[in-house]
């Protein structure tokens, strides 16, 4: 498995985009920690990067990379290598290098300035979002035949999860404000990995405010270890299921 991934990895490193991404994250995180006297505030700014920039870069990069490695995939297809292995290697190479870029770019400053549970949660969430958006990117790429169309779909995907979904959720909350919505909204946030990641981080950063939430459901849920476990499991599912769907599709695809 890693034999192939190694070549994918090598290819990605050659393109230097990932190196630029690492440098960008490193610069931004470092300067955030240095400029903000309050490391708590720096973490909040990092949170925005993790919830917006990281998914955006990951999904676009992974999509472009998929189409760019078409030659490699084609070459591998005529070899005694299973399709599952080809796609998984591509995935491991892409998600792996993006995660590494994230862990280097954000991880080092966090370890220097904020080696706390909150910092670790930030790194965990960022890594999860990276591998989740890579999965989504692969699903989109395998489904869309054309590069332009694939990138468009990936962007739309990001736009939907990062922005549109929350708008719809807000609309829903206010439209049905007379109804007990707690469990519904909890379920709905699970349907968006970025939302779920956000709540996971809020548990670290805004615990004081979340505890003020009147709904007992949330207090019990968020306050317990089960809530954290639930979040982690759902995030993992968000990484696995699109990837699994992508592999299924890829195995039946004409190439």
């Amino acid at each position: 498995m890693f034999k192939l991934a190694k070549y994918v990895w090598y290819d990605i490193l050659r393109s230097k985009v990932v190196i630029a991404y690492t440098a960008f994250l490193l610069t931004v995180s470092m300067s955030l920690f240095q400029l903000e006297a309050d490391s708590g505030k720096a973490l909040l700014s990092l949170l925005n990067i993790i919830l917006l920039i990281v998914p955006l870069v990951s999904i676009i990069f992974a999509t472009i990379h998929y189409y760019n490695s078409y030659e490699f995939i084609e070459l591998m297809l005529s070899q005694p290598v299973s399709r599952t292995r080809i796609l998984l290697s591509e995935y491991v190479g892409t998600a792996g290098s993006l995660t590494a870029a994230f862990l280097l770019g954000v991880g080092i400053p966090v370890l220097i300035y904020q080696p706390t549970a909150t910092g670790m949660a930030l790194l965990f969430t960022g890594s999860m979002l990276t591998i989740i958006t890579c999965s989504l990117a692969f699903l989109v790429s395998v489904k869309a035949r054309e590069k332009a169309r694939g990138i468009g779909a990936a962007l739309l995907c990001w736009f939907y999860f990062a922005l549109l979904y929350d708008g719809l959720l807000l609309l829903l909350i206010f439209t049905f404000s007379d109804y007990p919505l707690e469990k519904v909204t909890l379920l709905l946030t699970s349907l968006n990995p970025i939302d779920l990641a956000r709540i996971f981080l809020m548990l670290q950063l805004d615990i004081s405010a979340l505890m003020g939430y009147t709904g007992a459901t949330y207090k019990v849920f968020f306050g317990s270890g089960w809530g954290l476990l639930y979040t982690a499991v759902i995030l993992l599912a968000w990484a696995m299921i699109p990837l699994w769907m992508a592999i299924r599709r890829f195995r039946r695809k004409d190439l």
Partner: protein
């Protein structure tokens, strides 16, 4: 060695292959011939598992290929247009393929590598190569692992006469060794001395599959190119005549 049974392939509404059945044995050199868009490449890709049949089945050594991949260890494939990861050097591509096939160095066929003097340009990245040089690389890779089956899609297209000649000789050598060789080519003169059998495809259907001497005899021509021209003409003018004419529709005459 390879048996194709009632193979159908359609891309959305377009039928590319219709009820193709054929059987190939070791020692045969089969020339796949047909006008542009007759389904030659699709047939080849189906054998390689790159294109998934809409219906029908392909057997390799009596095993349905399905989602198998190990059988490709016995196939050397030279694509029509060889595409390789841009950033890799020739030497790296070679090393990678050997690494993936995991075959002992002693088993490597270096004839073409030496004949084309690739060592001199091995440090060049793939994206800097001319089309012809890429074809050479494709040819080297196809023969490198001494496969039982060679599938060559337009092998001489883009090669200069000298390189072409070298390749022809190599194919002849492999023919002597009793390999099963599938060739498509527009340059019919190339096939004259190579082919033992002709498989003529038209609009996705096998119109003619017979030994070369039989075909020459039936068409009353001395050269393959003339014979094929006659076949094509007959096909386009009066398919019915063809059906009943020189080349029988007994497509599995070699079973």
């Amino acid at each position: 060695m390879i048996r194709i049974e009632h193979l159908h392939k359609r891309f959305s509404k377009l039928a590319v292959l219709t009820d193709v059945s054929a059987s190939f044995r070791a020692g045969q050199v089969i020339a796949l011939i047909g006008p542009n868009g007759s389904g030659k490449t699709t047939l080849i890709k189906s054998i390689l598992g790159m294109v998934k049949p809409s219906a029908g089945q392909i057997y390799f050594n009596d095993q349905p290929i399905g989602e198998q991949f190990e059988y490709r260890r016995q196939i050397g494939y030279m694509p029509q247009i060889g595409r390789y990861p841009d950033h890799m050097k020739i030497s790296q591509v070679m090393a990678m393929m050997q690494n993936i096939r995991n075959q002992p160095a002693a088993a490597i066929d270096e004839d073409l590598y030496l004949a084309y003097d690739i060592a001199a340009i091995a440090h060049k990245p793939m994206h800097s190569l001319s089309g012809g040089t890429r074809q050479k690389i494709s040819a080297i890779l196809a023969f490198m692992f001494r496969p039982e089956v060679l599938i060559l899609d337009e092998p001489t297209a883009g090669l200069d006469p000298l390189a072409s000649e070298i390749l022809r000789n190599k194919i002849l050598v492999e023919k002597q060794r009793g390999r099963l060789i599938l060739i498509t080519s527009h340059i019919l003169n190339d096939l004259d001395e190579l082919a033992t059998d002709i498989l003529y495809l038209h609009e996705g259907q096998v119109k003619c599959y017979d030994t070369l001497p039989n075909i020459l005899q039936q068409t009353g021509q001395a050269k393959l190119s003339k014979a094929i021209a006659a076949l094509m003409q007959a096909q386009s003018h009066s398919p019915a005549k063809m059906q009943n004419g020189q080349c029988t529709t007994k497509t599995v005459s070699h079973v």
